[in-house]
Symmetry: C2
Subunit: 653 residues, 2 copies
């Protein structure tokens, strides 16, 4: 966490100074906005938190609920989501609050006495260390709270406009209309209101009206299997009540998930196959029936339910829209309306996917909107959103269908080990790490992948331990990447740094504003051997109104856990470019200079082409989106003598 | 973090339900209060946070400042303090915000060119892993913010009464006055007010008026050495600007300390010895003079100071009061007025001690006041506060004097290695872990110390890794100990648990309310081998209005890092009793039953003597201090059918 560089910060440094649109943000919904987000669920809130880093942009978020969500549906948090929370600055708080899912046990009918269940297998949740972050369970409402806080504390100071319901939209085809999307909403007082927007994002859930307005259809399976979802406080003799379990008895199946706080749990209780002619009758299944069924399945154990904070019945549907924006195939124009999250894809809740994928949809889209709206990228960048995320959703649904089918199988239909094996083998997928974007204007090819095999192009940048040189502090390289919309360029140095220094000198001749590019170096030598005063000044940018040196871009390998070895980085060094949403964009040799600028020029208009004057420009390292304006308690630069306390304080003792 | 056991909690679980005095707390300072704390610095705030766990008690905290502290003096946070933050529930947030002090470098005149300084040594801050927590630097103001939050979020909902200045007190000698201390204060509107209190704690700093009112004197050295304290933002070529350094040149000395946020630093600049006849003239040293001096010392490096958020001159004084309460030696009565923190002991800031020791003073006193005021302990318990803490302060001052003298030595007076050696060898002291309370009514003897050599009686309980059995979650045993005023009884099981089970059965025959005693078991076997349904129900207490089972008291050794080996725990098992302030009170064999009850009966009146009926009492495991009252969104226990949603929700997909 970096602060004080605009002057002393006395209060919580997580609250960034308001800037731009955040300083004059009207309380009422305005008639025009750059971005209108519809729906304050996981996708909408992530988008708001991301766009709050762009105070040049006006963003409004409407939500039909009158206020914050109190009890959410989703609760599974993949490690990939926790990485995302880290970038938004609240991972450590949410981790402290959540249930940590470290194991999954499997139960099945005892072959010797099929009326009884017995534990057949224990599995570890992440035996291979897919992420340094944990797999968590926590209520969706709390996740939204944290993102809402990040949105409110960002420079653009975004807060949801509650009590507004989306009723329709039209997109003007005239190219000269700066606000081509016209949206109608009804407010809490039933007054209809029209809002014109440059871009609209429908994050309004499985029954999305934005999706309907675009004429997009969800296609896929019809509901085939019904599950009762029971959030309960209970007294039981079932010994694994605090462990995630898949339980398959001759009376049906339960997916059992302990919840945050040490007492609550959620059971997905199998209600059997539903008939298309059933006409939703299964949804009338009472909680008493569900509890009775759970007791049957759990026999010889029993469940004495004392409180039910939430109970619902749902039928599994695996559905997907053909695209996530308003541009029909073959149409030349760039998209103006997007949909994200459950509005585009629905699936069973049992692999703990929905909320996670929705958040990644928004993380993918947010920085793209930010870059386009701040004029650094062409509008064509926005086409990559649907292209990238529709494919991810399709693969998710295929996985989820397979998992749900396995879960729904009766004992005897498959050996108990098979379910456990599937779970273990596919761990990377439910953890959120199988996403691999294909080549595009923001994802390069793999010609130089061998230089850093542990940073596969198109996959998320997998952090590794390093040591920060300036203060000898052990750090996780990826954890310094904030969700601030910046590209990361990691320069892995060759031993002795001859190539690295030549590359840095060349880079200094170009325009790489710190506001867009966070350029870090990682030396292969131990930190004591790095003389920071001989590090190229590319890696020591000046920042803030005082022109201070930012020392936090210079790292060394940790001999105890060498990032060059862990991630198979070539000892000749290389450059790893990472997108603002943390996916590896390309890997290049330190000598491949034209390739670097050519690659970035595909999606960035101004900065790469231009040349600066020589010398050290004073850049604000948090980007143009953290304008160097004083916050309460901060000081403007002035003559030193003006800045000093006039009287020395009394001594302490 | 445990919650939901009184019903579903939708908002931040760190906010505990208000109870007792917290539900009807008057905004205005009342005429009578159980505890009156004077001063909202580190000691006062810790005390407020601790007493907020006792909603049966009325606590008020007056502070003469009009509002929160904006820029504090202290900034060094020992690992022991971070352990304390963990117990109060905010360690992970403060850690994320603070500077991590992992190294200290030493600089001295270059023998070949004495006008230049060179780096002579690098040392690691905690090479031996004294604590699993880091050594931090963060402004005192933020530490106070977090404790203020803990005080406000505790059941008693304590917030400071700002703008009130303490002017005097008298203590009634009549034994029948329930509020024997009469305090006068002046308010913001200059109105004098009288408050009667059962107990008063002066946390009002080095110039304590509570101390003066008690007629206590600070004795010790007069100021001998002056230091300029410069908090600055600067551009420099000094390569260790982000590393803690002791710099000794022929022009004087600097203790250099990087600060939180990546840019700010603090320099203690040596201003030389002061003459008693100097009459404070050294305090007029200007910031320009101090900066010029720093530049001389740093030569050949230079410091271009751009902003000075704080500058002060102070002279080192090592002073201590003879006792920390109002009871003169030989007086039979129990104390009514206490002083804590800088009010009792002052010393140089350079070993980073002051704030830390002050917080431990308050952590020592808080639970004692809580236990006496809730009637579970005799008033004599309060005598242990001054007895324990005065000795700690005396030893601190002796250490600090030695350190300051070394730091103030001129080059040539001692070899450069000596300073570094002293720093490294004494690391446990400045980290806050050399405190060792002697035997008393709350600290037992060491007759059975051999059963758990790694938990020395009288020293703080040093946490170690374990695995929680119910959910296979790796945990740090000590981190589950909250600052909730409860005693901890850790039962280390013998292999096979025969002795453990006999002990548990005997314990169940006594009265050990979960509100006072948090009783945990640690098995030596791996967690998979522990059948939680065969664990004695002593370790699975019922809790909350629903009588739910608390599963979070049953642990197993982690084979990768076995607590029995790490802490030299005898394989025959043993009992380790830990005080509410985290100090080991005694170590006993599982068979030493009378010793256990006799020891606890010294300081606890009711609970140990009494016997309960057989059967499982429904206890609230967070103590009488978290009354089972519903919070917003929680439900009262009722018939199951009343508790259920009447309609199943719409399915998601």
């Amino acid at each position: 966490m970096q602060f004080h560089h605009h002057g002393y910060v006395t209060t919580d440094p997580r609250v960034q100074p308001a800037a731009g649109t955040g300083r004059s943000r009207p309380a009422e919904l305005p008639g025009e906005t750059d971005v209108l987000i519809v729906g304050a669920g996981p996708a909408g809130m992530v988008l708001a938190a991301q766009l709050s880093q762009y105070p040049e942009v006006t963003t409004r978020l409407i939500e039909r609920r009158p206020g914050r969500l109190e009890v959410g549906q989703a609760d599974g948090i993949q490690a990939r989501s926790v990485e995302t929370f880290q970038a938004f600055g609240f991972a450590e708080r949410l981790i402290a609050e959540a249930f940590h899912l470290t194991a999954m046990n499997f139960w099945a009918s005892d072959p010797g006495d099929p009326e009884r269940i017995v534990r057949t297998q224990r599995t570890e949740d992440d035996p291979d260390g897919i992420s340094e972050f944990p797999h968590l369970i926590i209520n969706e409402a709390r996740v939204l709270d944290y993102f809402a806080e990040a949105a409110a504390n960002g420079p653009a100071r975004i807060t949801p406009d509650y009590g507004y319901e989306f009723t329709g939209l039209t997109v003007a085809e005239a190219a000269d209309d700066p606000y081509p999307v016209t949206v109608t909403v009804t407010g809490a007082r039933d007054d209809e209101k029209t809002i014109k927007a440059r871009y609209v994002v429908g994050c309004d859930g499985a029954h999305s009206r934005v999706r309907d307005a675009l004429g997009l259809k969800m296609t896929g399976t019809q509901a085939l299997h019904a599950w009762a979802v029971l959030d309960a406080l209970a007294v039981t003799d079932f010994p694994d009540i605090r462990t995630k379990c898949a339980i398959q008895s001759r009376h049906g199946s339960i997916l059992h998930i302990p919840r945050e706080g040490g007492y609550l749990f959620r059971m997905y209780i199998d209600l059997g196959e539903t008939d298309a002619a059933d006409n939703g009758a299964v949804r009338e299944t009472t909680v008493e029936t569900a509890i009775a069924k759970a007791n049957q399945i759990l026999h010889p154990y029993s469940l004495d339910v004392r409180d039910v904070p939430r109970y619902t019945v749902y039928e599994v549907g695996h559905r997907l829209t053909e695209r996530f924006d308003d541009v029909p195939p073959g149409t030349g124009r760039t998209p103006r309306v997007f949909i994200a999250g459950d509005a585009c894809h629905t699936h069973s809740a049992k692999a703990g996917q929905g909320m996670n994928v929705s958040m990644q949809d928004a993380f993918n889209l947010g920085w793209k909107l930010g870059q386009v709206l701040t004029g650094v990228s062409p509008e064509t960048l926005l086409k990559t959103y649907s292209a990238e995320r529709q494919d991810v959703a399709a693969r998710l649904i295929a996985f989820d269908r397979e998992w749900s089918d396995l879960m729904a199988k009766k004992p005897g239909e498959l050996p108990p080990e098979e379910l456990a094996d599937f779970y273990t083998k596919t761990a990377e997928f439910p953890a959120g790490f199988l996403t691999e974007y294909p080549p595009s204007m923001i994802t390069g090819g793999t010609a130089h992948q061998d230089l850093a095999k542990g940073f596969p192009v198109g996959k998320r940048f997998k952090s590794a331990p390093v040591v920060r040189v300036c203060d000898a502090t052990p750090a996780h390289l990826g954890h310094h990447a904030r969700a601030d919309g910046r590209w990361r360029i990691y320069a892995f140095a060759d031993a002795g740094a001859a190539e690295l220094n030549a590359w840095a000198e060349w880079m200094r001749d170009g325009a790489w504003p710190d506001s867009l590019f966070d350029i870090k170096v990682i030396y292969p030598e131990p930190h004591e051997q790095i003389d920071i005063s001989r590090t190229d000044r590319l890696f020591l940018p000046r920042t803030g109104p005082f022109g201070l040196i930012d020392y936090e871009k210079v790292y060394a390998a940790d001999p105890a856990s060498d990032i060059f070895t862990l991630r198979s980085v070539d000892r000749r060094g290389c450059v790893v470019v990472v997108r603002p949403d943390q996916y590896v964009a390309c890997v290049l040799p330190l000598t491949a200079r034209a390739e670097l600028t050519d690659f970035l020029a595909q999606s960035l208009e101004a900065p790469v082409a231009a040349k600066t004057d020589a010398g050290e420009a004073v850049e604000d390292h948090r980007g143009p989106r953290q304008l160097p304006e004083p916050r309460d308690g901060a000081r403007e630069p002035a003559a030193l003598s003006d800045l000093l306390p006039q009287t020395a304080e009394h001594p302490r003792g």
